[in-house]
């Protein structure tokens, strides 16, 4: 036969053995492997001395979000074994599939779902497997595969090939497959036809061996002879390094475990690693030992009697199932039977296709993790790396940061000029999700401890070039070729993922500041402008806006952040104004958030930005202030902002009169407290510069009954909490003046007669009352 197609299951040791055997016996002139053909010119990278597992990582930036995928190799992956054996035997080795970045990459969110959802279109596959499981009394796909194939003696090549052919023939039948299947099969077939044609031209009669997933075997076998072999298959190259690409990355065992979410994987990769190296029987022994010691390490009492029971059960089970050597499912079933001493909540995790979750019985989880394997592979030093890694190296050297395999702790002070570039570098790495760069905390020691969190300057870092350093960076290469551009793209994506959560957006802004990405303002503001119509809680937006206002008004340790934050703040302010305009009715419980929202305008107006429509804002606030349907707290705050920023009448004295007039219209019992709470939030000055307000309040109080007063008291008290002690003193003087008190009485007004103990006592009682109220559900 001129072309032989070997259908395999990815990561099956049995298939790997068969592939090696076929290459040895057939001496093929070419070995064509189902792998991304765009990698052909770099296939030598795979021939370097890597420590497996590694993966071929592909990314693409063609869609809205960066998409990525991994194509793992283990020592016993048939593709890997075929590649190395073919190369050693002098055969021409090619990958013949479409580029992974063309069909296989998925955005993160999509990929998380794709790993567990069943492919409905491959229904024949599921039906056939279910029928075979019934026939052979197996629980599921994995147990069935081991029972039929992995259990064969290592040298039963003929028998294995026959079974594989029959099995995959049954699975596929005449199922046309998905559209993607068809496109890939057509492409792979074209390669086969062309390679055969080329070999024939050279008069090379040696066979060609195709190693592909069993699902594709039959269509390739039937299609290639019908194709015109003189047509060379199209080769694909990404339009730029940024658009798409592929690199080798070190991979970890847990990443290739089907139980961890790798759909094309086998469960328990470490077990098959042992089986590949030492044979099934030794793998079984090692698995038992590993499971027992892991369980004992986790303080599960596994007695000698239990181990004897385990061994006996294992022997019994494998004999009953006709396995000369215990298989993986036998071992796990025996563990379940002998060691679990309670009812399970769900069937054992290795039955069927699903992920290992924390819902699974802890003992079974640990048993599985024991044979999943820890750690991962390492790339050979000569493996080409994406430009991002070189850029990171350059940046690290030029900014004088050394990150080695030993952990080192760094304290960087943002007030110092020399620390800023280093800190910015670390922030960029952190934004890219490099796990070796950890920010432990940000402090502002001693006298500065009251600084807003956003402005704290002492950053405590811990840096190490750990095992995930290279994989993290290579995978981050999807975002850009330089550290700065990659960090920027990642940050924009993160803000997008926030999907209208203002706090996350503010946090993203602060990260941009700390990372020195100060020119991102327009980009982030545009992003936010798209998201903001979905935000409906003005208090939440306001909280984020205040964080940004703190930074923008103070500046970030010598950096001018107006350019970065200004535009975003304006978008936020616009939205808040829109939302405030819709607030109606009694919102006493929301008063704090409402007033915070209005206070944002005080900050924004102080910025004095050209882009902000100051007139419209003040007019709206003035309108809100006089509207009787608007909640009192918002009215008060709006009035204060309008007053302070000259949004009422131009004449100062007339404006004050207007303010007083509005204040007098507020119903004292229900709304005065909230109104004043809003008013004093931004315009404390009006209360202390003369006694007009005090007189107005006095008049309102006089009109109230005792009961009315008690109702209004808590909110009134809150309103005066805005005043610092000195201004309270001034207020006290005004009150005394209005009441006509003598000097001595005036003095008494400002003194705590009962002493501190009574005060502390009152606080305690109040606290207790509040606790009870919360328990009863009266307040939240």
């Amino acid at each position: 036969m001129t072309v032989q197609v070997l259908g395999i299951r990815h990561h099956s040791p049995a298939c790997a053995r068969l592939a090696a055997h076929l290459i040895e016996t057939l001496q093929p002139g070419a070995v064509l492997i189902e792998g991304p053909s765009d990698f052909n010119h770099r296939i030598r990278e795979l021939l370097l001395d890597h420590k497996l597992p590694i993966a071929l990582y592909s990314y693409s930036n063609s869609g809205e979000r960066p998409a990525q995928c991994w194509f793992p190799f283990l020592d016993y992956s048939p593709e890997w074994v075929a590649l190395r054996a073919a190369h050693a035997g002098g055969a021409d080795v090619r990958f013949i599939d479409l580029p992974h970045w063309q069909y296989r990459t998925l955005p993160d969110a999509r990929r998380r779902v794709a790993s567990v959802e069943k492919d409905e279109r491959r229904s024949r596959y599921a039906e056939s497997v279910a029928a075979l499981c019934r026939r052979f009394a197996c629980d599921g796909d994995h147990a069935l595969w081991d029972h039929l194939f992995e259990s064969l003696p290592p040298d039963a090549h003929g028998e294995l090939r026959e079974r594989l052919d029959f099995y995959f023939h049954e699975l596929r039948g005449d199922d046309p497959g998905t559209e993607q299947d068809q496109a890939r099969e057509a492409y792979m077939s074209q390669w086969v036809a062309w390679m055969r044609h080329e070999a024939d031209k050279r008069n090379d009669r040696r066979p060609i061996l195709v190693v592909c997933g069993g699902w594709h075997k039959r269509p390739i076998e039937t299609t290639w002879p019908t194709l015109d072999g003189s047509i060379q298959p199209e080769t694909f190259a990404p339009s730029s390094e940024h658009a798409a690409g592929s690199y080798l990355v070190p991979h970890e065992y847990r990443q290739v475990d089907a139980l961890g979410g790798y759909g094309a994987g086998m469960q328990s990769p470490l077990f098959y690693q042992w089986a590949w190296q030492e044979g099934l029987s030794s793998a079984g022994q090692r698995a038992l030992k590993q499971i027992a010691s892991r369980l004992r390490g986790k303080r599960v009492a596994v007695s000698t009697a239990d181990l004897i029971a385990l061994e006996l059960t294992l022997q019994g089970l494998s004999r009953l199932r006709g396995h000369a050597v215990p298989l993986r499912a036998d071992i796990l079933d025996a563990v379940q039977s002998a060691l679990v001493k309670e009812a399970l909540d769900s069937p054992a995790p290795w039955v069927g296709d699903r992920l290992l979750t924390t819902q699974d019985h802890p003992l079974l989880r640990e048993a599985l993790l024991a044979i999943t394997g820890e750690g991962g592979g390492r790339l050979h030093a000569d493996t080409p790396l994406p430009p991002l890694l070189h850029d990171v190296d350059r940046e690290l050297t030029s900014r004088g940061v050394q990150i080695s395999r030993n952990r080192q702790d760094l304290v960087l002070d943002r007030r110092r000029d020399e620390d800023t570039p280093r800190s910015q570098l670390l922030w960029r790495l952190r934004i890219l999700g490099v796990e070796g760069v950890q920010l432990k905390e940000i402090r502002a020691p001693n006298a500065a401890r009251r600084l807003p969190e956003a402005l704290r300057f002492e950053e405590h870092w811990s840096c190490t070039q750990d095992d995930r350093w290279f994989p993290n960076l290579i995978e981050a290469a999807a975002y850009g070729a330089t550290l700065e551009s990659a960090a920027r793209a990642r940050l924009v994506e993160r803000v997008h993922e926030a999907q209208g959560r203002p706090a996350t957006i503010a946090a993203g802004m602060l990260q941009a500041i700390r990372a020195g990405l100060l020119d991102m303002g327009e980009e982030l503001a545009a992003q936010l402008a798209r998201e903001i119509p979905t935000m409906h809680d003005h208090a939440e937006i306001a909280a984020a806006a205040h964080v940004l206002l703190d930074v923008v008004s103070a500046g970030f340790w010598g950096l001018d952040t107006t350019g970065l934050i200004g535009a975003t703040l304006l978008v936020m302010a616009d939205r808040i104004l829109w939302l405030l305009d819709g607030c109606q009715g009694d919102r006493t419980v929301h008063a704090v958030g409402d007033v915070d929202a209005v206070r944002v305008f005080d900050g924004v107006l102080h910025l004095d930005s050209q882009a902000f429509d100051k007139r419209f804002c003040l007019e709206t606030l003035a309108r809100l202030a006089v509207s009787s349907t608007v909640p009192a707290a918002i009215r008060g705050a709006a009035l204060a902002v309008a007053f302070v920023h000259q949004g009422l009448t131009p004449d100062r004295a007339a404006a004050r009169e207007q303010l007083l007039a509005i204040a007098r219209t507020v119903p004292p019992r229900e709304a005065l407290g909230d109104f004043l709470y809003g008013l004093f939030s931004c315009a404390r000055g009006v209360a202390t510069e003369n006694d007009a307000i005090v007189r107005a309040i006095q008049a309102a109080l006089d009109s109230m009954s005792v009961e009315d007063f008690l109702v209004a008291l808590p909110r009134l008290r809150a309103a005066f909490a805005w005043f610092p002690p000195r201004e309270r003193g001034a207020l006290g003087a005004l009150v005394a003046g209005v009441l006509g008190l003598s000097q001595a009485e005036r003095h008494q007004l400002l003194q705590l007669k009962q002493g501190a103990d009574a005060f502390i006592d009152a606080r305690r009682i109040e606290g207790q009352a509040l606790t009870w109220a919360r328990e009863l559900g009266i307040v939240t």
Partner: protein, 362 residues
């Protein structure tokens, strides 16, 4: 046993009901048979999960049966745990019938179970007359199982008081039952083939009450509700058909009724609807066995009261009795389920089911 004898029993035991199949399996059984067993493990497995001309009798993972068989051939006893109505007792009956040829050596555990019922009692007339003698001894099923080397079943073991359960300790580890009252031959050694299959519900907080010492002597196997919709539907259909045939009734529940019933039961059991949305789980049990009895009741009602085969609306009333029992919270959940889920489903049968929601007790 003849067909007539079988018909004379309301519920024939498994070894009677499936006598032909057991004989067939025995005849063609070529595999090694564990000591004291009637059949090889493979034959027992086939008897339970079916294949090769044998009907499947239970829907479960084959590995469960395999583990159970290996346990029963070892020196540990088997404890089947799971929600009520997951066919634990049926499984233990089938296993006992296939392994020992009898499933009637059964102890029913309850709060009133005493050690006498587990080990042995006395015929007091004989005891007074001739003193302790083998003739005066009344052997328990366990006693007989040990003597004859057979599987003994212990239903609802965790409903027994712990001290009574602990009476099993020496029997299970030493495989020895002492009768100190007898002057000689006062020890019963278990013959090969003896073992114990106990069942326990996870719902009646029973499993926690078992002592650690006794737990160690058992191998636990959890029996789960049927995971696959189609298989559950098929099972309900065939079981109802069997029960109706036994009563000589020709009517069979329509596929619409069964669809509504099985879907409703599954969704109330799992708290997830078939579109993947979350709904609410009932606190009581809505097992396949209960679905069978509701389907049976619905058909009987249609047949005897109206002359049809039951309508989806009948399920509503049956649900209140079978699923909600006296739990008002569950009743609320069922009502919300019918309002929100059933109301949105397409098809006349769902509409009929939804329209009958007022039949739920208020």
């Amino acid at each position: 046993m003849s067909q007539d004898a079988r018909r004379s029993m309301q519920r024939p035991p498994a070894e009677v009901l499936y006598a032909e199949e057991l004989a067939k399996l025995k005849k063609r059984d070529r595999d090694a048979t564990p000591p004291g067993w009637q059949l090889s493990m493979k034959a027992v497995l086939q008897f339970v999960v079916g294949g090769d001309g044998i009907d499947p009798k239970i829907v479960c993972a084959p590995s469960l049966i395999e583990r159970a068989l290996v346990t029963l051939a070892s020196n540990r006893a088997l404890l089947l745990v799971g929600e009520p109505g997951t066919a634990k007792s049926l499984l233990s009956e089938l296993l006992a019938a296939a392994i020992s040829g009898t499933s009637t050596l059964t102890i029913q555990g309850s709060a009133a179970t005493t050690e006498d019922q587990i080990k042995y009692g006395w015929n007091y007339a004989l005891l007074l007359n001739e003193g302790p003698s083998p003739r005066a001894l009344v052997a328990s099923p366990l006693y007989r199982g040990m003597q004859d080397g057979r599987i003994v079943r212990f239903e609802e073991i965790t409903r027994c008081p712990p001290e009574v359960q602990d009476g099993l300790l020496s029997i299970l580890s030493e495989r020895l039952l002492m009768v100190p009252e007898l002057p000689d031959s006062n020890a019963v050694f278990a013959a090969p083939g003896f073992n114990l299959i106990a069942t326990a519900n996870t719902r009646d907080r029973g499993v926690n009450e078992m002592s650690a010492a006794l737990k160690r002597r058992f191998s636990f196997e959890t029996v789960f509700p049927i995971a696959d919709y189609d298989r559950e539907l098929a099972l309900v259909q065939s079981e109802v058909a069997r029960m109706l045939a036994q009563d000589g009734i020709k009517a069979r529940p329509s596929s619409d009724v069964l669809e509504v019933l099985v879907t409703t039961f599954r969704e109330l059991r799992q708290g997830v609807d078939k579109e993947g949305g979350a709904s609410e789980k009932l606190s009581t049990v809505v097992s396949t066995a209960e679905a069978v009895s509701v389907a049976y009741a619905v058909t009987l009602r249609g047949h005897y009261l109206r002359g049809d085969a039951g309508r989806p609306a009948d399920i509503v009333e049956a649900l209140a009795g079978a699923a909600a029992k006296d739990n008002s919270d569950d009743l609320k959940k069922i009502r919300r389920y019918i309002e929100h889920r059933a109301g949105k489903r397409k098809g006349d049968h769902w509409r009929d089911f939804h329209a009958a929601r007022h039949l739920l007790p208020q």
